[in-house]
């Protein structure tokens, strides 16, 4: 019997050349650009740690691979017995029995193999799930300055693609390496036990085979790198010219652009053809090497058989074994690539995991349960980038329940004050106190729980209105959500939506106006009922109806809270107890609307510029 498995998998090796699925390919690009070592004991040790919770299952998987190796290598041996002992000796009953044993091993192997394959996938999935969650939790802890510096896309790649690469290593890498080694061991064991001379003859082709495989892998790797390089180049070209299609058209360049594209496209095709060439050479050569081994077995083994030194059964089983032998060798070389990419990815992941958040909770946090809402800035100096101060020696005092408006031109430092109060950043000099406690002594979560932030650039999650208001906080009842929507004045609008409060805000067809989106963020702040409200009014104009709603909503929001508002509307400012005018990082004027107008300083100019009604249509 010729082992079917050998043939199957040998041919399946061909498949990667013809990638059935290319969806992931563009992402794979970057990862493979930087290939390094295939094994790094430091990284490996850390990776193995993630397998620890599943060590039982890992051992079971390894045990099963031994089973698979044994079961798959024993069948040619059984075939030999079938031929030599029963067919040649004309024993139909013996033949039937050995056939039943063969069937048994086949079915059993199928079963074990299924369990093993699934088990390794399961282990891989579990492990990367843990790793992904750990990474996600870790990223959440970073301070805002980290997010300012690191593009979102890069972190998303760590969380998704990099971890995906590790999955491949965990599920098809590690365990399968054992499987291949066991199978090679099993084959050698049976072959040597049948005839060591014939084994040496048959396996004399192994060295050229390994050599060919290594050369091929090397060539193909380079060829694929070229393919990926040109693919990336082609994709970049496409992306760029589709994004910039306006420029292409305006300058009447569609024809020349197509010519340029054709060149890049053909480079890509050429690179592909090169990899086709390697495959066209490799597969025939491997088959030829196999045939040489077969020829040697017939020639030498046949001679031995005629001499009676070995049986025909041995001869036939040898033909099978020699073919079985090639697959694990080729597989092993493929695992090399998997390990290489996995090492590169894990390096990147661990680098991120090793990074500590720059803003951390105090070791002995101050008691901060009953926030009143007194705010004090004492000689605060702050810079996002070293020495480039955006706030210079800022001091002010806001009493419980007071409403204070911050005004000033863009870049005056208003938003920074808000960011600092929430401790998104740490200040360089001075102190920020809430109820007389330095905010550095308060747990971040305690601090932020008491502050409601409504920012200008409205951020809604692609989730239901309910979840956008409660932000999945179970302590906020559905009733409360509806109450808040009502107080804010957006309940009528929500009731008109097809799914009402369960409507996903980002679903196609549901278009919320800017004003409505803003009202949802107001309802969110209200639902959390903070002692301190920070509100950055949106500058963008909304329709008159929303405008009235927004103004009413702001009144409701401020009620009974210490409120800090970056105001853009005169109506809002006039309701405030105090106006602080900021200019170039400093506080330049403080007072009420009328006091400041009378002063005729910065505020009076700002007032004319920003708050006096402009020409009709501009809300």
């Amino acid at each position: 019997m010729k082992d079917q498995q050998t043939k199957n998998t040998k041919e399946q090796v061909k498949l990667p050349e013809e990638p059935v699925n290319l969806i992931k390919e563009p992402d794979d690009l970057e990862q493979e650009e930087v290939l390094g070592k295939a094994y790094d004991s430091r990284l490996m040790k850390r990776l193995i740690k993630y397998l620890k919770p599943y060590s039982k299952w890992v051992f079971l998987a390894i045990f099963l691979t031994v089973g698979v190796a044994l079961l798959s290598t024993i069948r040619p041996y059984l075939t030999k017995i079938a031929i030599d002992s029963y067919i040649v000796n004309k024993d139909p009953i013996g033949l039937r029995n050995i056939i039943l044993i063969l069937l048994g091993t086949l079915v059993f192997q199928g079963l074990v193999q299924y369990i093993m394959t699934y088990l390794t996938q399961w282990i891989g999935q579990k492990t990367i799930f843990d790793l992904r969650m750990e990474l996600f939790k870790h990223i959440q802890k970073f301070s805002m300055s980290f997010f300012d510096k690191n593009p979102v896309g890069r972190m998303v790649t760590r969380l998704t693609n990099d971890i995906e690469v590790l999955n491949e290593m965990f599920s098809s890498g590690i365990v399968m390496v054992f499987a291949d080694i066991f199978i090679i061991g099993g084959i050698l064991f049976f072959m040597f036990s049948l005839s060591w001379q014939l084994t040496l003859i048959a396996l004399s082709v192994v060295i050229p085979l390994i050599y060919t495989t290594i050369i091929f892998r090397k060539k193909v790797r380079i060829a694929f790198r070229d393919v990926r390089y040109y693919l990336a180049k082609m994709n970049a070209f496409l992306q760029e010219h589709i994004t910039g299609i306006l420029v292409v058209k305006i300058f009447n360049k569609d024809k020349t652009t197509l010519e340029d594209f054709k060149k890049i496209n053909y480079d890509h095709t050429k690179a592909n053809k090169k990899s086709v060439l390697y495959y066209s050479v490799f597969f025939p050569v491997v088959e030829l090497i196999g045939a040489i081994s077969g020829g040697l077995i017939i020639w030498y083994g046949g001679g031995k058989a005629i001499e009676g030194a070995i049986t025909i059964g041995i001869l036939i089983s040898f033909i099978q074994y020699s073919e079985m032998f090639f697959r694990p060798i080729r597989d092993l070389s493929e695992k090399y690539n998997i390990m290489q990419t996995a090492m590169a990815s894990s390096e990147r992941i661990f680098k991120l995991l090793d990074r500590k958040a720059s803003i951390r909770d105090p070791k002995n946090p101050a008691e901060f349960t009953d926030c009143k809402g007194n705010i004090e800035f004492r000689n605060v100096w702050f810079a996002y980038v070293k020495e480039n101060y955006v706030l210079k020696n800022i001091s002010f005092n806001i009493k419980q329940g007071e409403k204070v408006a911050f005004v000033g031109a863009t870049g005056a430092g208003k938003s920074s004050i808000m960011n600092l109060l929430l401790r998104f950043y740490d200040i360089q000099k001075g102190e920020i106190l809430i109820d007389g406690i330095n905010i550095k002594d308060i747990k971040q979560s305690d601090l932020r729980k008491n502050i409601g932030l409504v920012v200008q650039d409205i951020f809604l999650f692609s989730d239901s209105i309910t979840n956008n208001i409660s932000l999945n906080n179970d302590n906020i009842s559905e009733e409360k959500i509806k109450d808040c929507a009502k107080i804010i004045g957006i309940d009528h609008f929500i009731d008109k939506l097809p799914l009402k409060y369960l409507q996903n805000v980002k679903e196609r067809g549901v278009t919320l106006s800017q004003g409505q989106r803003q009202l949802i963020t107001f309802a969110r702040a209200l639902a959390y009922d903070p002692r301190i409200l920070i509100l950055d009014e949106a500058t963008s104009s909304v329709d008159t109806h929303s405008e009235i709603l927004i103004q009413n909503a702001i009144d409701k929001l401020m009620e009974g809270r210490t409120s800090i508002i970056i105001a853009h509307r005169l109506s809002t400012i006039q309701k405030c107890d105090k106006i602080i005018v900021m200019h170039k990082g400093e506080i330049r004027e403080t007072g009420t609307h009328y006091e400041l107008i009378e002063m005729g300083g910065i505020y009076s100019k700002l007032y004319q510029l920003q708050y006096k009604e402009t020409f009709a249509g501009n809300g």
């Binding site: 082992d3 075939t79 079963l111 699934y118 959440q140 999945n472």
Partner: protein
């Protein structure tokens, strides 16, 4: 297969190569199938205790048949697979060519990502069908015929028994393949959900932190992560099943052959050599059997992809040269640059409100016109209509007294120097970016344009000067530098009409003045349209249009508009105040 039929013209282009491919694949299969035949004869000879020295003949035959088969296999891949790559190349060229001629409108409804997916994934799916699909179909057919007829020559009854499970195996492979594809797509969807969630969480990190929602966000992400794991394991279940299932089925037929064949040998109806050959043939057939199911999947996917591609190929752009009108009006005279809007109404789609309402305006050749108005007042739309980025349905636009549709697209577009609102530069050298519109490249002109647009000094401060590459792989210019480079690009080709759509928004007022001074000479004898939010940019224009909600609210020179004390005057006063504030 209806959609795949569209590939016939492409296949015809390479019919010679394909024809050779089919010939060599036949030879390759013949030699492959002869090997088991030789081995069977050898084994029978061995059993019959033949002379030792005759054995080397069989060994040599095996090796040389394998060598022959190998050579032909090499040629097969070098023809059929290479052709599939060539067709992929042609198909992608045609695809992009079609994309390039689509109207601006098309890109509003088709995100870049979707177009990219078509150009990569769908074209790859079609290629998979053309290359491996065709090659394995041919191989399967020939192997089948060869192997089965040789098997029948040995023993017809046993052949029948061995062949019975074949359709079943193909069917199983097909079903499993289909199920794997389906589950794989679900995994991909979940993967993209997971990515989106991560993306969203990180983009909204400020809200998350401000409301102390880290834990619930983690819980949400965990839910998606778990779901992703589940879908993966779902896929793993089928995938882990597929491999054992396939070798079980093929293994069964081999064991049955061994059993029945063995009994036949015992009864003297068959030789051991023949049995061995049988088993080897079954092995040879395994791949074709499996690939049959695989090919069906491949074809189905290619068919679906081709359908999507055909949608693009059949999508005709609306903005094209109208040969009748061009013939009627176009006298091949250079464009002088007078522009007239006559009762122009425009909206982007029938379901959308009008962006321009009843616009009538005449611009003389060589005149400088300023346009001011709030965001959304229709300024950019106004100028976008001139190079026919969109076609109007109501009213008419005339250039040099000729209706726009009567002028070839290439002529009108090459006559316009345009600085779009959103500066877009290619990741290429600065020189190539500036010389983008230049037909015959002239370095002096590039330098001249760079000097006028005040980018020359910046360029010279880079180590590689004009050879500096922009974009991700090169350096990133500041917003102002980009705008200035974009201005240089617009003026380099000496256009009759110059359109600057908010081209100074990222440039400081001082540099703006420098550029405007430099442009003064260029603007002489050239129709110039300046869009700006800043009065300082426009105040020296011959005439200024104030747009409001898609209509012309005021027109006139700076001084006249100030006198009118309307919208323009209001904007002007505010900007003066702003200046004052900055001085403080």
């Amino acid at each position: 297969m209806t959609h795949l039929r569209r590939l016939i013209p492409y296949l015809k282009r390479y019919k010679k190569k394909l024809f050779i491919g089919f010939i060599v694949i036949t030879f390759s299969a013949i030699f492959t199938n002869l090997i088991p035949f030789v081995i069977s004869k050898a084994i029978d000879q061995i059993r019959d205790n033949a002379e030792f020295h005759t054995l080397y003949k069989y060994a040599l035959l095996t090796v040389s048949f394998a060598a022959m088969s190998g050579i032909f296999l090499y040629l097969t891949r070098q023809t059929i697979i290479v052709v599939s790559r060539e067709i992929e190349n042609d198909l992608r060229n045609d695809f992009f060519g079609h994309i390039l001629i689509q109207d601006q409108q098309y890109f509003h409804f088709h995100p870049t990502g979707d177009i990219m997916a078509l150009a990569t994934n769908d074209i790859s799916a079609v290629r998979n069908f053309l290359g491996p699909g065709i090659m394995y179909t041919a191989e399967t057919c020939i192997n089948f015929t060869m192997a089965i007829s040789l098997m029948i020559s040995f023993n017809a009854e046993l052949t029948l028994i061995a062949v019975v499970p074949i359709p079943l195996i193909s069917y199983v492979v097909y079903r499993i393949g289909k199920s794997i594809n389906y589950k794989f797509e679900r995994v991909q969807e979940q993967f993209s959900d997971l990515t989106t969630k991560a993306q969203e969480n990180l983009s909204g990190i400020k809200v998350v932190k401000a409301y102390v929602r880290e834990e619930s966000e983690t819980a949400n992400f965990r839910k998606l992560s778990l779901e992703y794991m589940k879908k993966n394991l779902d896929l793993a279940k089928v995938q882990s099943f597929s491999y054992p299932m396939m070798f079980l089925l093929t293994g069964f037929s081999v064991i049955i052959v061994l059993y029945i064949g063995g009994n036949k040998i015992i009864n003297g109806e068959m030789s051991i050599g023949e049995l061995t050959a049988f088993i080897i043939y079954l092995g040879l057939l395994t791949w074709p059997i499996i690939s049959l199911g695989w090919i069906i999947n491949l074809t189905q996917r290619a068919e679906a992809s081709m359908k999507r591609l055909i949608e693009v190929f059949d999508h005709k752009p609306e903005i094209e040269d109208d040969p009748v009108l061009v013939k009627e009006y176009f006298k091949d005279a250079p464009i002088k640059g007078s522009i007239e809007f006559r009762n122009v109404n425009f909206r982007y789609d029938e379901s959308l409100p009008y962006v321009l309402k009843n616009i009538s305006f005449e611009i003389n050749a060589g005149e400088t016109i300023g346009i001011i108005g709030h965001t959304g007042s229709g300024k950019s739309t106004f100028v976008n209509l001139i190079p026919r980025l969109f076609d109007i349905e109501e009213g008419s636009i005339l250039v040099d007294g000729i209706p726009l549709r009567g002028i070839p697209l290439s002529r009108i577009r090459t006559s316009i120097g345009y600085v779009p609102q959103e500066t877009f530069l290619f990741s290429d050298t600065i020189e190539n970016n500036i010389a983008y519109s230049e037909k015959s490249f002239n370095k002096d002109k590039v330098i001249e344009a760079a000097k006028i647009s005040q980018i020359y000094k910046d360029v010279n401060s880079f180590p590689k000067r004009f050879d500096t590459i922009l974009g991700e792989r090169g350096i990133n210019l500041s917003g102002g530098q980009k705008q200035r480079a974009s201005i240089a690009r617009a003026i380099v080709s000496d256009p009759a009409i110059l359109i600057l759509d908010d081209a100074f928004s990222a440039v400081d007022t001082y540099t703006e003045e420098e550029i405007l001074n430099g442009l003064k000479d260029i603007m002489k004898g050239r129709t110039t349209i300046l869009i700006s939010h800043r009065v300082s940019t426009l105040k020296n224009s011959d005439r200024i249009i104030v747009l409001k909600d898609g209509s012309i609210a005021e027109t006139g020179s700076h001084d006249r508009l100030i006198q009118q004390n309307g919208i323009y005057a209001d904007i002007y006063q505010k900007q003066l105040l702003e200046e004052e504030l900055k001085e403080l």
